[in-house]
Assembly symmetry: C2
Homo-oligomer: 273 residues x 2
């Protein structure tokens, strides 16, 4: 993956805080596993991400194009031939790491979107889902994080419902018992992405411009969500919730109004009046 020198330098200086962008030039992978400096409950939780680092996380409170959102089901559009993902089989498995706030897998792949190519950095899981469709959430969601040579980030997301265990998800989740603690790393079983590529191509997509769903909540992220969920069985769901516990940011406003900011203004007015 090509890295711009200045971004590379920045990335070497920046702490590994998040997972939406973990391994991108914004925040490179840390040696020996990083303990993210945010969480999902209380003062570490999403409402307070801004206060955890007011400079770095400014957009978590003040952004106007934040993710996740509640998607309108009617906005699903057929996946054009100019949009595709290509992820070679990981014949010997791939690295699976427990980052504390999620588990992620690092392997190679590409996203081609209208002639622009981005490289797969990692994919990771959320439970329950971060995005909702017509108000409905799903038990899990997986995010494939891609970065282009110009450092722009695209995330391809799949909602995950309960049902038969998807073979690819099964091969990843089978590794969870080996990474019980933050920083633990193991190798997955061999991974085959052929069915996922076809699922993506045939299911249509929701697309919108949003942000990282974890601090620093950077905007300018191209979101591409598959309209059709993958599926996981109860045992796989239990394994993820036992380990990750809960890591979904609440849905943001999709009308260019920041909810935290809106709420703050209302509360300030209440103090004055």
């Amino acid at each position: 993956m090509f890295l711009q020198p200045t971004l590379l330098l920045l990335s070497l200086l920046a702490p590994a805080l998040g997972h939406e962008h973990y391994g991108t030039t914004l925040y490179p992978r840390a040696e020996g596993g990083a303990s993210p400096k945010f969480g999902y409950h209380g003062l570490e939780g999403p409402l307070n991400w801004y206060s955890l680092d007011k400079e770095a996380n400014e957009l978590c409170a003040k952004g106007t194009h934040q993710s996740p959102i509640n998607v309108a089901g009617a906005s699903c559009a057929a996946t054009p031939s100019s949009l595709s993902i290509k992820i070679p089989a990981a014949l010997h498995g791939a690295e699976l790491e427990n980052l504390g706030t999620t588990v992620d897998v690092t392997t190679n792949g590409t996203l081609v979107n209208g002639g622009k190519t981005s490289e797969l950095v990692q994919f990771h899981f959320h439970t329950p889902s971060e995005h909702a469709v017509d108000g409905k959430y799903y038990p899990m969601e997986v995010h494939f994080v891609f970065q282009a040579a110009d450092a722009s980030i695209s995330v391809v997301g799949f909602l995950i419902e309960l049902g038969p265990l998807d073979a690819l998800l099964g091969a990843v989740l089978a590794g969870l018992p080996y990474i019980p603690s933050t920083g633990n790393v193991t190798h997955t079983k061999p991974l085959d992405f052929t069915a996922l590529e076809k699922h993506f191509a045939s299911s249509g997509t929701y697309q919108y411009a949003g942000s990282l769903t974890t601090p620093p909540c950077s905007e300018g992220v191209s979101w591409i969500l598959s309209c059709k969920p993958l599926s996981v069985d109860v045992a796989g769901y239990e394994a993820i919730t036992d380990l990750i516990k809960f890591n979904a940011r609440y849905t943001q406003n999709n009308e260019g109004v920041n909810l935290l900011e809106h709420s703050a203004i209302e509360q300030v007015l209440a103090r004055i009046n």
Copy 2:
């Protein structure tokens, strides 16, 4: 159920806005089904409940003992003999209503807690769970809402995991196909609460002083959570998420700090500095 005259008068004047307290003297049941004036996404969502009605919902933004919370698993204590629920079988079923933001069941019953008796008003469902235990959420949660003669409210909550379908939950969920729209009402199959009473008595409880988890977020609510989850099968879970979609408030701070208020103050300081 005995109602204090002034509370009864108030209750007749108040609109039916919520479901945590629906049917209590705070908000009596409306004729023909009420459409709650709040939601779970965007400007109707939990971050903005205060702004929807600044007088009525003041505590949603400014309360310091708000629910739900992330419970410490170690705080589970054996259920004392002075704490029990008694809910007679509903031999001919009970009324099941779609309130838009949840479904609720009205039937009679009592909670005895240290010599104080409260009457069951209704029970209703959340998905995913509102409370978390050691950070872990569950797919569902059911709240049994009780009110005492002094108008104080106690809620007995059960987390619900995936597994064999609990017979009582199954008898309730079987009614969901008959109430597809807000305001729809049906009758459940016969309901037997014997197993639930035993489950409650034998599983231990987490107890804390919190609030309604829906507007107006009133405080002074005695929360009593069973330490052991009930279970529901995948079909029951699908039926609930298809209908309710998502209705869980984010966890609040359990240290007497209001997160929305905290966040607002930080943002005001950022504007001044």
